[in-house]
Symmetry: C2
Subunit: 620 residues, 2 copies
C-alpha cells in the first residue's frame, strides 16, 4: 500500500493503490474544501506534489498551465494515488477555522457511539440447553445487550447467523437513549461481521456537507458537499416554508430534495471510501429548525408566521428509510435539538463543537457566537449564561437582490482592496469577473466609505461630488447610471455596484448588528466587554474581519478579537455521531439557552435604524 | 335503537337497527360458535326468536323447514335486527366451556390496555409561549404521556391537529412495556378523536379465531374464524416448518398465508361492527411456537429438528405493517411468550385465561391442562409448580390418515353411541355421512371395545369371532374387507372403519396419554391425585369425556373430574389485549413453567407402548 505524507503537517497515512488523493488526505484528518463536491469544478482542493510521482489527470491539465503541472500542482479530488508521495496542502485548500472547531471538539473527543458492533460467543443449542436463539444470544451478550429489543430483520437473520460458526455471532446494536429505545439491528456470523459506519451532516439552507465515519475506529472515511437543491424553491427558509404549506405536494417535494441531497453526499463518501450503504447504521443531522422539519417531512409553516412555534424542538430519531435515506436496514437518522423556530440544531451543534458553555471559556470573558446566512443567528455566552436570537438578514450576503450579485462561485468578486490609487478586485479562482458575492460586497462597502465614494448614510456620491484628491483611477470607476451613481468593480470595471445594492447590504448588516446589540443590552454588556466574536458557517469563514467591523456588521471590538469557527454545525453533528454523551449534552445545551424574540421589540427597531449607518472610516 | 334480550341469560343490549343478530348477541358477552365464519354454512349459530319479530333470510329458509321458521328458528349470523326482540341462544349454539374461560379471565378482567386514547388541552402558541407543539402537548399531557416518543406520522399530523380546535387534541398512545418502548401513535383534533380498537387472535395450526374489541369501553365488537390456509402445505407444524425451510420462498408464502388469514378475520369483524381498520391500533396473537414464528416470517426450521430450539421464546412486538396486517399506521402486533419450541404462546395464553397458576386452584389440588390437536401439549400444575411437555399425536384426531376420516365439518360422524342393539351414528348438522372426525373416532373406538367388536390390543374381530350375544344389527356392521375386518359406521353403514384406522387412533391417544403419565411420574403423582383434567382447544371441547377415558386417551380419573376450557388460547390473547398487566403476567408464566423434553426418554417410550392398549370395558 502506498504511503502519503502530508506537509506541512507531517502526517503520514497508508492508502490503497487507486484511492483518490483527497480521500487519503482527509483520512489523515486534514479537511479539504470541496464546494464543488469533489467534481473538479472549483479548484479549491489545489495541492502540490513535492516528492514522489502522481500523473496529472485531464481535469488537472485543464485547471493548470504546463508550468504549474510541472511544478507538481494537482486537483486533489481528480488524481489517484499509485505510489508513495509527499503532498503539500496549502492553507487555501483547507476548510478555514477547522483548527478552532477541532479544539472545541477535542474537549470531548472520546469515541462512544450510540451504535456499536460486538462479537458474542453464544454457543449452540443442545437437548440439555434448548434456550431460544434470542435468549441465548442476550444471555451471552451480557450487560452490553441487556434490554435491547430486536428489529424484525434481526430476528429473521438470527437462526442462521447463530449456527453458521458454532455460535460466534457478530451483532450490531443501538443503545437506548432519551430519543429512542435500544435495538438489536443486525446479526451475522462472526467472520462476516459488518462494518459499523455512521454519517454526520450539516444541512444548510444553501449548502449541505456530510462526513462518513468508521464508528469502530473513529476514523473519518470521507467528506463531501452539495448545494441544497431546495434552492429552486427560494433562497431563504421563509420562502421554503411557504412553498411547503402553500402548494400541493410542496412539503413532500422539499422533503425528497433534502433527503436526496444527503443521500448523494453519503453515496459519494461511500464511493470514495469503497464502502457499502448497507454498513451505514447511524446518521446525525444538524440544520436550522426549518431544514430539520423539512428533512423529516414535518410542515415548518408555523415557524414562518407569528408566533413562530415549531412542531418539535427536542432531538428526534426516525428510521432512515422513513425519510428516504439509503442506509443499513434498521439504521436511524437523528436531528439535533433546537432552541426555537429560528435557533436550530445547527446553532446547538455549534455550541457543542465550540464548547462555549463548557466553562472553559468563562475565564476569558463573554463570547458572541454568530452564524451569518440569510438569517443571522447568534448566541451571547456570558457568565455561563447563554442568550440567543435570530434576525432576518435577507439574502444580500448570498448575492441575491444585488444587481450583479452572485454566490461564492468561480468568477465571483470575493475581495476588494484599495491600494492607494485604485480598487483591486480579486475573483474566486482568479476567473473573469461574473458578479460580486457577499464577502466582496462587504469589502467594497468598506472601501467605498473609507475612500469617501459613499457617505456614512450609504449614499454614493456623484462623479462631481467626489472628495478632493480622489485618485483618477478610483474616480474613473464612478459613473452616473440610470438610477443614480454607480461604482464599477472588477479589473475591467465590468461589475456595477449601485446605491440600491448598498442599501440591501445595509439592511442585512443592520439586522445582524441590531440583534447583537440587543443581546449585549439584555446582558448589561457593551461591545468592548466581549472577549471574542466567533464567526461560524461557510460565509463567516471568508469574511474579512476588519471590513466586517468597518461597515458595522459586527459590534465594535478590536479586530484581533474576531475569530473563525468554521463549519461548527458539521462539527457538532460529528461529535453527536461519535459520542452518545454529546447527544445528551446537546439536549442540555438546547434547554439551557434562553431565546430572545426580537419581533415587535421597539428597542430592536431603534437599534436596527441606528445600525443602518456606516460607522465611517474613523472606526475602520 | 332496538333492544335485544337474550335468554336464558336475561341480558339486554341496545343495538343499531340493521346490526346482525349474532353481533348483538356477542356484544352482550355470549360467544356463539361460528366455525363457518358467520357465513351461514354451518348452522351452529341456530337461535330461536321467542318474542318480537325478525324476518327470516333466504339462508334461514334453506336451513330450516317451514315449521321451524314459524317456531322462530333463525341463523343468528344471517339475520339483522330491526325491532325489539327476545332471542333464546341454546347451549348447542354457544362455544362450549366458555364459562370456565370467563371464570379464569374474570379474576383479572380490569380494562387497562397498552394502547389508549386521551384528549389533551394543550392550548396554542403565543409570542409569550413559543414552545414547540410536541413539547407543549407533552407538558399538557402530564404523566400519561411522559417519556413517549412520537412516531414520524404523529409528528407530521401534530401541527394541524393542535391548531384546529384551540389546542384540544385527541392522542392515541402506546405505553412502554418490557416488549417495546412507549410511542405516540396518532393525533387529531379532539372532535375527530379516532376510536381505539384492538384485536386478539388465536392462530391455530388448523383454525384461526379473532375478536375485535373497543379498547376504550372494553366491549367486544365482533368475532370471526377461518381455516388456516397454510393447511395446503401440510396438516401439522412439522410439515410446515419443513416447507418453510425446504422450498424457495416457502417461508415468505407461509408468512403471507398466516397474515392474510388474520387480515380476513379482522376485516370480517370490522365489517360486522361497521368499523375502520385505521382505528385498529393494537393486535395480540397467541399461537403455538411454529405458528408465531411463521406469522413473523422467522424460520421455524430448527424447532422441527433436534434440539428443537426456537429463534425466540419471549413475547415480541412488531409493526403490524411489517407483517402485512392491515391496521392503523403505527399499530403493532404482539405475540405471546412461549415456553419452548413445542409449548407455545397458545399454552401460555391458556394458563393466563384459566388462572391455573394464580393460586386460586391450588387448594383444589393438582390440575392437568391438555390441548389436543396434531400435537398434544399439556401442563401439570401441582403445588404451584408447572411442568409442561408436548407429544406428537399426529393428525388422526383431525381425520387424517383415517381411511374415511375427515375434519369436524358438516356431514362428519361426530358421535357414535351403542343403544343396546346397534350403533347410533350422529353427523354434524345431521347431514348425510361423509366421513368420521376425531370425536366420532374416539366414540367408535370406545363402543367397539365395550361391545367386544375390538379387543384390548385394538384388533378388530372377524365376523366369525364376534362374542356370543352380539346383537344382529351390530354384528351386521362387521365385514371382512381386503385388509381384514371392518366396521361399517353411519346410519346407512356407509363409513367403513378398518383395523389400520384403529391403529392410527391408538398411536395418537397413546402419545397423549404417555406424556400425561410422564408428567405425573415426574411430580410423584398418580392419576387419582388429579383434582381436574382440563381439556382446551376446539377439539377438546367436543370430546366425550367418558369415551376419552374409556379408550385411555386421558389418565384414569373419575369422569366428573374432566372439564372443558374452550378456546383458552383466544381467551388469553384477549386478556393480554385488554389488560397490559396480563402481558407481564404471561411473561412470568412462561418463565415459571418447566419444560420436559420427552424425545429420547426411555420411560416415555415404555409408557407409550403400554398406552397403545385399550383399558377395556371394565374401566369404561
Amino acid at each position: 500500500m502506498p504511503t502519503v505524507r502530508i506537509e506541512p503537517d507531517g502526517f503520514s497515512i497508508q492508502v490503497a493503490s487507486g484511492d483518490s488523493l483527497i480521500s487519503a488526505v482527509e483520512r489523515a484528518g486534514v479537511i479539504v474544501d470541496t464546494p464543488c463536491g469533489g467534481r473538479g469544478g472549483c479548484t479549491k482542493c489545489t495541492v502540490r506534489i513535492v516528492a514522489g510521482d502522481l500523473a496529472p489527470s485531464e481535469a488537472c491539465r485543464q485547471a493548470f498551465d504546463a508550468g504549474k503541472i510541472a511544478a507538481g500542482w494537482r486537483l486533489a479530488c481528480q488524481v489517484r494515488v499509485t505510489a508513495d508521495l509527499t503532498v503539500e496542502v496549502p492553507a487555501a485548500a483547507r476548510v478555514r477555522g477547522e483548527r478552532i472547531v477541532a479544539a472545541g471538539a477535542a474537549e470531548s473527543r472520546s469515541l462512544d457511539p450510540l451504535v456499536f458492533g460486538t462479537v458474542v460467543e453464544a454457543g449452540v443449542p443442545s437437548l440439555e440447553d434448548q434456550r431460544a436463539d434470542l435468549e441465548r444470544l442476550l444471555a451471552a451478550g451480557g450487560a452490553g445487550l441487556a434490554g435491547l429489543a430486536p428489529e424484525l430483520g434481526f430476528l429473521r437473520d438470527l437462526p442462521r447467523a447463530l449456527r453458521a460458526e458454532g455460535g460466534r455471532t457478530a451483532v450490531v446494536a443501538r443503545r437506548a437513549w432519551s430519543g429512542g429505545c435500544g435495538r438489536l439491528i443486525s446479526v451475522a456470523p462472526a467472520s462476516r461481521a459488518p462494518r459499523v459506519l455512521g454519517a454526520a451532516f450539516d444541512l444548510g439552507t444553501t449548502t449541505a456537507v456530510g462526513e462518513l465515519w468508521d464508528l469502530a475506529s473513529g476514523r473519518r472515511l470521507g467528506v463531501a458537499s452539495r448545494t441544497n437543491p431546495q434552492r429552486e424553491y427560494g433562497a431563504d427558509v421563509i420562502s421554503r416554508a411557504e412553498h411547503a404549506a402553500g402548494s400541493p405536494g410542496g412539503l413532500r417535494d422539499l422533503q425528497r430534495l433534502a433527503a436526496g441531497c444527503l443521500d448523494e453526499i453519503l453515496a459519494e463518501c461511500l464511493r470514495s471510501a469503497g464502502c457499502r450503504s448497507a454498513d451505514v447504521h447511524d446518521l446525525v443531522v444538524a440544520g436550522n429548525t426549518v431544514m430539520q422539519h423539512l428533512l423529516l417531512g414535518v410542515t415548518p409553516e408555523h415557524i414562518a408566521m407569528s408566533p413562530f412555534a415549531p412542531a418539535f424542538a427536542a432531538a428526534r430519531s426516525v428510521p432512515a428509510a422513513e425519510v428516504l435515506i439509503t442506509a443499513a436496514p434498521g439504521a436511524r437518522l437523528s436531528v439535533l435539538p433546537a432552541v426555537s423556530g429560528y435557533v436550530g440544531g445547527d446553532i446547538v451543534a455549534g455550541l457543542l463543537a465550540t464548547g462555549l458553555l463548557d466553562g472553559a471559556d468563562d475565564a476569558s470573558g463573554p463570547v458572541l457566537f454568530i452564524d451569518i446566512g440569510t438569517n443571522g443567528e447568534m448566541v451571547l455566552v456570558a457568565g455561563g449564561q447563554a442568550t440567543a436570537c435570530s434576525t432576518a438578514a435577507g439574502p444580500a450576503f448570498e448575492g441575491a437582490r444585488i444587481s450583479h450579485g452572485c454566490r461564492a462561485m468561480s468568477g465571483a468578486v470575493e475581495e476588494v482592496r484599495f491600494d492607494g490609487t485604485d480598487l483591486v478586485c480579486l475573483t474566486i479562482d482568479g476567473a473573469a469577473p461574473l458578479g460580486i458575492c457577499g464577502t466582496g460586497l462587504i469589502d467594497a462597502a468598506a472601501e467605498l466609505v473609507r475612500t469617501g465614494l459613499a457617505d456614512e448614510t450609504g449614499r454614493l456620491l456623484e462623479p462631481g461630488e467626489l472628495p478632493a484628491g480622489t485618485p483618477a483611477a478610483l474616480a474613473g470607476r464612478v459613473r452616473l447610471g440610470q438610477d443614480g451613481p454607480e461604482v464599477l468593480l472588477g479589473a475591467g470595471r465590468e461589475i456595477p455596484l449601485t446605491g440600491r445594492d448598498l442599501r440591501e447590504l445595509q439592511l442585512a448588516k443592520a439586522a445582524v448588528r441590531a440583534g447583537a446589540e440587543t443581546l449585549l443590552a439584555e446582558a448589561g454588556l457593551a461591545a468592548g466587554d466581549l472577549a471574542r466574536v466567533l464567526l461560524a458557517g461557510a460565509f463567516g469563514s471568508y469574511i474579512d474581519p476588519a471590513n466586517a467591523l468597518a461597515i458595522g456588521l459586527l459590534p465594535a471590538v478590536p479586530v484581533e478579537r474576531v475569530a473563525f469557527g468554521g463549519n461548527t454545525s458539521a462539527a457538532g453533528a460529528r461529535l453527536a455521531l461519535l459520542d452518545r454523551a454529546q447527544r445528551e449534552r446537546a439536549a442540555e445545551l438546547a434547554r439551557s439557552v434562553r431565546y430572545l424574540e426580537l419581533s415587535g421589540r421597539p428597542d430592536f427597531q431603534e437599534r436596527f435604524a441606528e445600525a443602518m449607518f456606516f460607522p465611517g472610516a474613523a472606526s475602520g
